[in-house]
């Protein structure tokens, strides 16, 4: 066989493997969801007026959260990349730290602050003010999800701003444009794609969020799906509502897919742009904005959770077996990260070199599963696992496979990023030195990609440790995780237990995120 044919065969082998993994892992829940939703039809007892109420409520939340995160995230990103504000690097990092806090952790912190029993009320009562409002309903959900999504938008816009060609902005300024005009005429038009992408991600997350809206008692479609599952004993209404939820999500997913295809701005020479010198007032205002974000998304939630935890422990509250739950959470996170990373390798490889149909399918399918609301995917997998031999049902192995199906694109994305940066000449050199296809892949590919794969694995581990809806539906009997503990504590009125579990969950994520951050810094070309 000629080397070329040998190489093609190896590639098609990898692509086939990728296709098998993607189809076996990610297709079944989608098929179940579509089939069940179609057969359930409109069997829901929910009256049309209530459906419209849910629809309006969901859209309201999406619009508010998307608009506020995009505005706020662009502002914070501009402040840390385009001004001479002192301490901007540290502030930028602090704005991104809440990436380690899942939305329902922020939600339980808000619950611990507001209302007659909340920490904020204790301050306001001390100075004779009205009690703080109860953290519930639209404003609370909007605040919580804005704080949660802000770091994502900030990070995306900072990355985009760093990639813009600074020469354009500088020319505009040299020609006498004031900073606001430079922003609107030069920067903003170039940010269109990244901002639209960010808006899509935020909207999709808001639609899918289950934990935070449950804790804060705001009715969206996702919460209604769960209420149907919990209250009734027939799954059909839950699937009927899932059908609506999925249709809404698909609109955003398609939009996101279109945007992903568009080229992002990349400067030929990346160099830091000239920064804007802030006046004294500007400096104060910028400082206030950034610190307000850091305090409300990071300092206040953590302080609230810590206060509730310490108080509870002092007063002898038994938080339950939270250390065993921490160990379980960590085990699932690491096992799922390893499995997901292994599954991701062929998918990343096939999308790197091959351009086969099956390779593209292997990349797209997991991305759709990942993007759909995890509660719906969890319901789909519940039906799938019931149909499988009984050893799969409610087993750790099944749950890990479900995590892999949900978080595969995270691992694939990290590996692809590194693969794209491989200089093809290295592969050619290896081959001319007499190494075969496999030897070359391992010697060059693995050596260059392993760090990125590790980064992806860590990110998967964090996401798995914080995953709530699928865990809730599919966890093995007798195993509880920290996420379940936080979520379950609120209806029981156990803010203390919830806070302790939330603190542990965040503590678990911090070293993983830190390691991830270090790894991404090293991967980035200088």
């Amino acid at each position: 066989m000629t080397p070329v044919r040998k190489r093609l065969r190896a590639l098609s082998l990898v692509a086939t493997l990728a296709g098998i993994i993607a189809i076996a892992l990610c297709l079944p829940p989608l098929v179940v969801l579509v089939a069940e939703a179609a057969s359930a039809g409109i069997t829901s007892d929910i009256p049309p007026s209530r459906l419209i109420e849910l629809l309006v409520g969901t859209l309201q939340l999406i619009i508010i959260v998307t608009a506020s995160t995009v505005l706020l995230g662009t502002t914070t990103a501009l402040l840390v990349t385009r001004t001479d504000l002192s301490g901007r690097r540290v502030l930028s990092l602090l704005v991104m730290v809440p990436l380690a806090l899942p939305a329902y952790v922020l939600a339980i912190a808000l619950v611990g602050m507001g209302g007659g029993g909340g920490l904020v009320t204790q301050f306001t009562a001390a100075v004779g003010l009205e009690p703080a409002p109860v953290a519930q309903g639209l404003w609370a959900a909007a605040l919580c999800l804005t704080l949660f999504n802000l770091p994502i938008v900030h990070a995306l816009v900072v990355t985009a701003l760093n990639r813009l060609d600074p020469a354009l902005e500088e020319s505009a300024r040299l020609l006498g444009d004031p900073p606001s005009r430079v922003f609107f005429r030069v920067i903003l038009p170039q940010l269109r794609t990244p901002l639209a992408t960010a808006a899509c991600i935020v909207a999709l997350y808001t639609l899918s969020d289950f934990g935070a809206v449950s804790v804060l008692r705001y009715d969206t479609f996702t919460r209604a799906v769960y209420s149907q599952f919990r209250g009734g004993v027939d799954l059909a209404p839950a699937f009927a509502l899932s059908g609506v939820l999925i249709s809404m999500a698909m609109v955003l997913i398609v939009l996101h897919a279109i945007l992903r295809g568009r080229p992002m701005p990349v400067a030929s020479i990346a160099r830091p742009p000239l920064t804007l010198r802030l006046s004294f007032t500007g400096r104060v205002a910028a400082g206030v904005v950034l610190w307000a974000v850091v305090v409300s998304s990071l300092v206040a939630p953590i302080a609230t959770l810590a206060t509730w935890s310490v108080r509870g422990i002092m007063s002898g509250v038994q938080p339950g077996p939270i250390f065993a739950e921490t160990a379980t959470t960590l085990q699932f996170a690491l096992a799922a990260a390893a499995v997901t990373t292994l599954f991701a390798i062929p998918i990343a490889l096939s999308s790197y070199r091959g351009n086969s149909r099956i390779g593209r399918l292997a990349e797209t399918l997991p991305w759709v599963t990942h993007s759909l609301p995890h509660l719906a995917i969890g319901l789909g997998f519940l039906v799938v696992s019931l149909a499988l031999p009984s050893v799969f049902y409610q087993s750790s192995g099944m749950l890990i496979l479900v995590y892999a199906a949900i978080f595969l694109p995270v691992a694939v994305g990290a590996q692809q990023l590194a693969l794209r940066q491989i200089d093809p000449r290295l592969l050619e050199v290896s081959r001319t030195l007499g190494h075969g296809v496999w030897s070359t892949s391992i010697r060059v590919g693995v050596a260059l990609v392993w760090r990125a794969a590790m980064t992806g694995a860590l990110l998967v581990a964090v996401l798995v440790s914080q995953e709530l809806p699928a865990t809730l539906l599919l966890r093995p009997t007798g195993t509880e995780t920290l996420a379940i503990r936080v979520w379950g504590a609120v209806p029981e009125g156990q803010v203390t237990t919830g806070s302790i579990a939330a603190i542990l969950l965040v503590a678990l994520a911090v070293p993983l995120v830190a390691a991830h951050h270090r790894a991404t810094l090293q991967v980035r070309p200088t």
Binding site: S227, R230, A335, A338, S390, S396, E492, G493
Partner: protein, 348 residues
């Protein structure tokens, strides 16, 4: 190459190895109980009750018998749904529910095995399924929680029907997807008819109630002054008062004969498909022992259903007739209707 490369690769290898080991262990560990050769060694219990109150008893049973019990804690509705989906293949041996309605759905599906007479005889007569498919363990009364500091008792309603009036607009807390509310509606259907229940639900739904997921958070909200009143079970306020010395939340009872004044049994049954009938029966016997019943009285503040154990503080002595007035055999068939009516009223 060599040592340096290897050192850099080490974390990856460790991570992957650890992952594989854990997955392997996990799968092996979770093989379903049916496959376990030693028949007496393990039980799977689906517990639709507060974990905090049941876990001590599960652990005591494990310590005494050497049987290991894997308990899946969750809401009663969620677990009943799960068992109905699982059907004959359910890994569960036991279902411990908060009420007679969700377990009634399992009876209707033919999934529960009859319990032996000695178990049924432990509790007051008739607190069991139509063919002894389940037995009552404890009972809880439906009440309205209010804050004595904010609302004088004289202004409180005598009937749940008053709560649909303008005076209570936006002031009533409910947990419409919680099994105890669903059971109360099922009982209302039995006593007031389908249309009576529908009428009340529709009227309360348009009176802007505050919807919660659980009863405990309703009582917390009332005690914190965030909510005027809430429809809950009697023991939450008693537990909180016992834990904290005093709280600003008390129970108000509706007039006798009002659909809001119900005494509901918690229930337990064994799945027909269970391969561990005898051990499962022992577990139920354990829950009906005097010492376990006393745990429910002292720590949960529920009514023990075994006679002579005692009465929760401030509650009337156990009135078995009040339990029967919810028509236990009838409510068991009302689940689907109750959840439909709740959804149709727009409360989900």
């Amino acid at each position: 190459m060599g040592a340096r490369r290897l050192r850099r690769l080490k974390p990856t290898i460790v991570l992957i190895a650890a992952g594989l080991a854990l997955t392997g262990c996990g799968v092996a560990h979770d093989s379903s109980p049916a496959d376990v050769a030693d028949d007496s060694a393990s039980l799977v219990a689906y517990v639709g009750r507060n974990e905090e109150h049941v876990r001590p008893l599960v652990e005591a049973f494990e310590a005494e018998t050497g049987v290991s019990v894997d308990a899946r804690y969750g809401s009663t509705g969620e677990l009943a749904t799960t068992i109905l989906q699982e059907g004959e293949a359910s890994p569960a041996d036991i279902f411990f529910a908060q009420d007679p309605v969700y377990i009634g759905a399992l009876v209707d599906a033919g999934l529960l095995a009859p319990l032996p007479d000695d178990i049924i005889a432990r509790v007051s007569e008739g607190i069991s399924g139509p063919k002894n498919e389940w037995v009552g363990v404890t009972a809880r009364r439906r009440v309205m929680v209010y804050s004595p500091n904010n609302l004088p008792e004289t202004n409180l309603p005598k009937s749940i029907h008053e709560l649909t009036g303008p005076a209570w607009n936006g002031r009533v807390g409910l947990a419409p997807t919680h099994s105890s509310f669903v059971s109360f509606v099922a009982s209302m259907i039995a006593t007031e008819g389908k249309d009576g229940a529908r009428h009340w639900l529709t009227a309360i739904a348009v009176n802007d109630p505050v919807r919660f997921d659980g009863n405990h958070e309703i009582v917390e909200a009332v005690a914190a002054g965030d909510l005027a009143v809430g429809l809950v079970n009697h023991y939450y306020a008693l537990q909180m008062a016992a834990e904290r010395g005093s709280i600003d939340a008390s129970n108000h009872s509706f007039e006798p004969g009002d659909p809001g004044d119900v005494l509901m049994p918690t229930t337990i049954g064994i799945l027909e498909s269970s391969a561990h009938q005898e051990v499962a029966q022992d577990f139920i016997r354990f829950l009906l022992r005097d010492s376990s019943q006393k745990h429910f009285l002292d720590n949960v503040k529920e009514y023990p259903l075994v006679e002579g154990i005692g009465t929760p503080p401030g509650e009337r002595p156990l009135d078995v007739e009040l339990i029967h007035s919810m028509r236990l055999t009838e409510v068991g068939h009302n689940l689907t209707l109750a959840t439909s009516l709740i959804a149709q009223a727009g409360l989900v």
